[in-house]
Structures are given as structure tokens and as C-alpha cells.
């Protein structure tokens, strides 16, 4: 946990020091472009790599009655047998995290008869906070389009008005900023305070969490505490997106720390577990219909079969077979015609 926290802090401090030392162009222009290029190429490469990987078996995960006899009701969502069913299940999985909803927690407790026994019970907190985190992230991403587009689209303004519906303070408090921080703290705390999870947690589990906390933290700081003149930020950001970078003079140093951390996330994305963003669509356990009793799944790396049909067999050995008096489909005199 500490190395990943240290690394995020180090990146932040480096960005701060570098910007103060006059490297605003490096951290605000060169790094974001490079990070975006790596993210883009990396993710497309990943998708091609996965698309090229053969799936030897029909292995969808199922969570209900498969399609069977007409009087047995199929669970079409949890055990789809057609492409349409797979699409529905995939959409529900991506939008609602249904498989995470089935999350269970195992615990060892003492039984009434004396001794210990293990119990499994439904655990929904991970699902709740995962959902909160992902939807807050989406809304925050949409909200940031006010810095990319002029004039600001009505849907972005609407998202902002929903987000700031409580009208607390000035600038108005955006609820997603707080919610995503709470959700991230839960996701981090889960790894820290559950000893079994802590045992299996690695650097690449903690690093994205600290990085996201860093990004959200600097973003909140820029909005509510350390302040940044957003008219200048919009001019600067639109310079980036229109490929004609604007001067960075007058923009708060913390803004460049924010940008650097986002760039780090983009750089890290294609090489980490965060690729589950596109990976979920390539999971054979999720993108295959459970139709193994209707359609034969051919293993793509099977070598081509050498067939030797009976007709060919008879053609080859007809004379010998006739000599031995074996029954033939075509007699030698007929076959010669």
C-alpha cells in the first residue's frame, strides 16, 4: 500500500516542482498528448490482441435454468441461449453490475453445537460502492466537457444542475465529487481492513485507487479550496483539444498536478486491471450464448481433419473387396462405367 501511495505523491510533487521550475509546457502539453496517444494505441492493441485469441470451449457462466424442454421455463437473462440474450445480459452487467450483486462473504464463526463452522452471506456493500464510484466517474467525465466545448452543450449544463441540485455554497457543491471520494475510500478500506483481501492485494490494486484519490482530491481542491481561474483553464484546455496549445501563464500550479495525475492514469490504463473497461466485452464467460446443446462449438486451433469417407475407401479397395466376396455399394464392372 505504502509504495503505491508514495509513487502517487512523488508524481504529484514532481509535477508541482516541475511546473514551478518552468516546465508547464512539459506537464500541461507534452505529457497529456503522449499519455493520450499511449492510452489510445494501447487500448486498441489490447482489443485486437483479445479478438485474435481463440476460445477453445463454450464456457459462458450461467446463473439460471438453461433452455430446455418447452414446459421448463428458461432464465433468459442469466442463461441466454441466443445472441440477443447475450447482449441483454451484457448490458445489464455493464450498467448494473449484476454479477457483483451476487457477491457473498465467507466467515468462520462458532456453531451452537460447539466448534466452528463457515457461513456465507450476501454482501452488497461492494456492489453499492462500485456502482456509486463508476456512475460518479461517468458524471464527472461528462461535466468536464464544459472545458472542451464552446458553447457548453445543454446536456452538460443539465448534468451539472443535477449534480449541484442541493445548491450548497459558492461555487456550488457537486455531489459526485464527495460521493466518488467516499466510494474510493470504501474500496481502499476494504483492502486494508479485511485481512484476507489485504493478503491478496498487490501494488497494482492500490496504485489505481491512490491515483484516483489523487485526481479527485486535486480536482476538489481546485474547485473549492485552492481556486483556479477556470476561464484561463478553458482557454488552455481548448488549446490542447484543438491542437494549438495556449500559453499556460496565470494558471494555478495545482492544475498541472491534476493534469499530470490524469495523464498518469491514461498511461497506466492499457497495462493494468483497469482494462476491464473494454475487457468485459471480450470475456468468453460473458459474451457467449449457452447453446452448447444446440450448436457445436469448434475449437479454432483444432488441426484440419483428414477425412476418408466410405465411398473413397471402397474406390481404393474395390477389387480386393470383390475378390474377398465382401458386399459392395458399386460392383467393379459398374464402377468402371
Amino acid at each position: 500500500m505504502f509504495p503505491s501511495l508514495l509513487l502517487v505523491l512523488l508524481i504529484g510533487v514532481a509535477a508541482w516542482a516541475g511546473t514551478v521550475a518552468g516546465g508547464a509546457v512539459l506537464f500541461g502539453v507534452v505529457l497529456p498528448y503522449a499519455a493520450f496517444a499511449v492510452f489510445f494505441a494501447g487500448m486498441v492493441w489490447r482489443m485486437f490482441y483479445w479478438a485474435k485469441s481463440p476460445v477453445p470451449f463454450c464456457i459462458p457462466t450461467t446463473g439460471g435454468q438453461e433452455r430446455s424442454l418447452p414446459f421448463i421455463k428458461q432464465n433468459a437473462v442469466d442463461c441466454p441461449s441466443s445472441t440477443g440474450g447475450v447482449v441483454v445480459r451484457m448490458m445489464l452487467e455493464v450498467l448494473l453490475f449484476r454479477s457483483l450483486f451476487r457477491n457473498t462473504q465467507a466467515e468462520v464463526c462458532s456453531s451452537r453445537a460447539g466448534g466452528v463452522r463457515s457461513t456465507y452471506y450476501s454482501s452488497k456493500w461492494l456492489w453499492v460502492f462500485a456502482l456509486v464510484f463508476h456512475y460518479c466517474f461517468l458524471l464527472i467525465f461528462i461535466r468536464h466537457f464544459r472545458f472542451f466545448v464552446e458553447p457548453v452543450p445543454a446536456c452538460v449544463t443539465f448534468a451539472e444542475s443535477l449534480d449541484g441540485i442541493m445548491q450548497i455554497g459558492a461555487p456550488r457543491l457537486f455531489l459526485t465529487g464527495g460521493c466518488i471520494l467516499v466510494a474510493l475510500c470504501f474500496l481502499l478500506g476494504r483492502r486494508l481492513f479485511n485481512e484476507r483481501l489485504r493478503y491478496i492485494s498487490l501494488f497494482n490494486d492500490y496504485f489505481p485507487l491512490w491515483l484516483l484519490i489523487g485526481i479527485v482530491g486535486t480536482g476538489i481542491c481546485l474547485r473549492y479550496f485552492d481556486k483556479c481561474e477556470i476561464a484561463l483553464v478553458k482557454i488552455f484546455v481548448m488549446g490542447l483539444t484543438q491542437f494549438s496549445p495556449a500559453p499556460a501563464a496565470g494558471i494555478n500550479t495545482l492544475f498541472f498536478v491534476h493534469i499530470t495525475l490524469v495523464s498518469t492514469l491514461l498511461l497506466y490504463f492499457p497495462f493494468s486491471k483497469l482494462t476491464h473497461m473494454v475487457g468485459v466485452f471480450f470475456s468468453p464467460t460473458r459474451n457467449m450464448p449457452n447453446n452448447s446443446r444446440m450448436a457445436r462449438h469448434i475449437n479454432p486451433w483444432n488441426p484440419p481433419k483428414q477425412y476418408f469417407t466410405y465411398a473413397e475407401y471402397e474406390d481404393t479397395y474395390r477389387d480386393a473387396m470383390a475378390e474377398a466376396g465382401l458386399p459392395l455399394d458399386k460392383q467393379p464392372d459398374k464402377a468402371a462405367e
Binding site: 464544459r146 472545458f147 466545448v149 464552446e150 457548453v152 449544463t157 459558492a170 482557454i235
Partner: protein
Amino acid sequence: MYNAKAVIFGILIFVGLCASPFWASFIGRDYKSTDIVLPKNEKNCIEDADFMRSQHMRLLNEWRDEALRNENRVYTALDGKKWVISLQNTCLKCHNSYEDFCQKCHVANSVYPYCWTCHIIPKGGK
């Protein structure tokens, strides 16, 4: 490549979504400067320009609380000068046009505070 049609369709969607900040910025207008019109008859605001640019919302919030909740109508600036706490009579005396001043940054950056549910929008000389 397996399922080539679906995969290429998916990659196109991914590329379109991820590049959205870039193509979206080309759809609209350019935004190279705020084109703000500063008051002609006054050179200094309540605090210096940097402070006003980044902290004016905080100042206005404090002013509202001071004036309406604490009945304190005097604000002492960092340079010691005393100001009457009033949006209508102090701020809008110089910044007398919403269209030339407030709107220039606020509309472009989609910031819509609820000043004008109580106060009258200044329309300049008109």
C-alpha cells in the same frame, strides 16, 4: 481475428467516445479569450485582480452572510480600505453590465450562480 464485425464496431465506438473531447471541441466555436470589458472609470477592485478572479465567489458568499445574517455592512480589504457590503451598490456600481462582464466567463464555463433570483441583472447604460 474472431467476431471481426462486432469487434471492429466496438473499437469504432471506443475510438469515437475516447476522442470525444477532441472532436467535440472542433464542433463548436473557438475560445481564445474571455473578451471581458472592464469598467472604464475605476482601476482598482475591492481586492487585487488575481484575488478577484479566483476568489470573488467566496467573497460574495461571505458578503451575503455578513450583510444578511450578521447585519455587518462594512468590509475591510487587505489593503485596509473600507467598503460597503452591497452587491447592488458597491459591485454593480462599476460592473454595470451583465452582458459585458459576468456573462463573458460564466456562460462559457457553464457557471450559473443564483444571484439574479434576488438581485436585478445590471443592463449597462441601457
